[in-house]
């Protein structure tokens, strides 16, 4: 079958994207597979100025998951565009920039700069990072701020689709989803990490220097599925499902509850060819399940 999907005018050859923060700038994974076999690449969160990130330790392994408090260490948007983007096969695979800023003005500045970059296919707005002091998840927990940031980006993004990435650390994720949609978001991606911590009873210290971090990996998949289901039922915007996906079967679970595409995140750490393997396996699995088109499968959960 034709595996391609459309996200607000952005054509993906298959629904497999990589999640921001788990796939570097894409280049790190070039030895392990063909980037153009993926539906798209979402690169590490970019800020206007380079960021050093949080102190160590920044990552901790947990049951079927991990915590991270990297704190958006990145080289800055201009360095990315000048040094990394030209090395990516952006004409053959959509490259989506994930944006982080401390306020709406800075978000607008990022969007304006990236709107002119031919190699950038879409913008993903990070209003859900739990690991930074200013901005981050605060925008994603308040419908007014979520709307303000979304509008700021959308106004400057030109023809680039704007995807708003949602946090699960809220009472009602559909309220934030609606706020983003009303403010002009073209699509939503969810979920970012769940806020969590891990401690050591021997040293009596937290396992992360930041104390609190974001939980990801297979452990969070049920939460992610529930959030995607709720948002898909509440509004008619394309949804990109994220959270614990580690197989082609997992991909179809998200599409069954209504997602149009997915992002592979922490599973990229389990083996660097994970996303490529899942993309290669997907057509076989669809054949096994006698699925002949996305329309006949997407959102068909019998409940």
């Amino acid at each position: 079958m034709d595996l391609s999907v459309d996200i607000a005018g952005l054509r993906l050859k298959n629904p497999i994207l990589t999640a921001s923060g788990t796939f570097g700038y894409g280049l790190e994974f070039m030895p392990y597979g063909n980037l153009t076999s993926l539906g798209g690449i979402v690169v590490k969160g970019l800020s206007w100025e380079p960021r050093q990130g949080n102190p160590m330790p920044r990552i901790a392994e947990t049951s079927c998951g991990m915590l991270n408090a990297v704190g958006l260490q990145n080289i800055g948007v201009e360095s990315f565009v000048e040094k990394k983007l030209p090395l990516l096969p952006w004409s053959e695979v959509p490259v989506i920039a994930n944006l982080y800023a401390r306020d709406a003005e800075e978000f607008a500045r990022l969007a304006e700069y990236l709107a002119d970059q031919e190699g950038i296919a879409a913008l993903e707005v990070n209003i859900s990072c739990p690991n930074v002091r200013a901005g981050g998840v605060l925008f994603g927990q308040d419908p007014f701020q979520a709307a303000e940031v979304t509008k700021a980006v959308k106004d400057k993004a030109g023809t680039k689709p704007v995807i708003v990435k949602l946090s699960p650390n809220v009472t009602d994720i559909t309220a934030i989803a609606k706020a983003g949609a009303d403010a002009g978001a073209d699509a939503l991606s969810l979920i970012n990490t769940l806020s969590g911590t891990a401690v050591d009873i021997r040293t009596r210290k937290p396992r992360l220097a930041n104390v609190v971090g974001g939980l990801s990996g297979p452990a969070i998949k049920p939460v992610a599925l529930r959030c995607v289901l709720q948002v898909c039922r509440a509004l008619h915007l394309p949804v990109i499902g994220i959270g614990g996906i580690a197989s082609a079967e997992d991909v179809l679970e998200f599409i069954l509850v209504g997602a149009r595409a997915v992002q592979i995140g922490t599973a990229n750490f389990l083996r660097p060819d994970m996303s490529f393997q899942i993309a290669a396996r997907l057509p076989e699995l669809l054949k096994e399940l006698n699925v002949s088109s996305w329309e006949k499968f997407r959102g068909t959960l019998e409940a």
């Binding site: 788990t22 796939f23 570097g24 790190e28 994974f29 030895p31 392990y32 590490k44 380079p50 050093q52 990130g53 160590m56 330790p57 920044r58 990552i59 392994e61 947990t62 049951s63 079927c64 998951g65 991990m66 991270n68 990297v70 260490q73 080289i75 990996g217 297979p218 452990a219 580690a246 922490t266 990229n268 750490f269 389990l270 083996r271 660097p272 060819d273």
Partner: protein, 276 residues
Amino acid sequence: MPEPILFEKPTLKALLHPACIETTVVSLTRVGSISGPDKPLWLLDLAMPNRSRWRPGQFVMLRPASWGFEPLWARPFSICMAEGGVLRVFFQEVGRGTAALTKIRSGETVVMWGPLGNGFAVKPHTPTLLLAGGIGLAPFIGYARAHPTLESLHLILGHRQDKSCYPLNLLPAGLSREVLRQETEADLQSFVRHLEEIIQAYSARDSLVLVCGPHPFLRVVHGLVLKHGVMTQLSLENRMACGVGACLGCVVEAVQGPPLRVCAQGPVFWATDVKF
């Protein structure tokens, strides 16, 4: 036999093309007999179906297929040797990953990616001091076996466990070496004094010092080599999720500039480039 590639100076980028493969366990062997609260040391041999080029000091990520999602991450291991179709790592049981690894059986599938990182400098005609702390012996076995001028090398292994726990038989017979055990605090202090004397001696001439071992050992040696101003490379280890530069979980503080990723920009760093 796969030929290690030897460079004058590690570059900041791996020049070789790593790959991710599913390989199988050839054997897992406990080395020597341990005493006290410490956990045993092991040699793990994995099939290396294709000839692959590597540099001593590089590492591989290993994740047995049987792990499922638990433990979640692969674990990084310095390449000890890669000869005759077998890749060998030397490791100590320290946490839940290495503990799980000791349960593996011959024939089991292991996902392996590498070779990763930069590797140690090789200066064939420069007197080169190899300083290993315990399990830090691992990369120096491959280094000594591949080195073109064995007579320019001198190895000091400081160890806590019985000598039988370290596969000294894998070192080339002609390698000049001192194997020194530290069982008490006094042993440790005299070992550090000895290290300082020898580092001082090497600093008096054009020389190279290469270091690998646990963090406290590295910290002591780092202080000594900076004090005496000798060209030194340290192989660092850190908790890693991906091994390829993406997770940003293994960074160390740089003397200048942004944090350095141990996996992608190391694991070998010049002593003057990193902070401890």
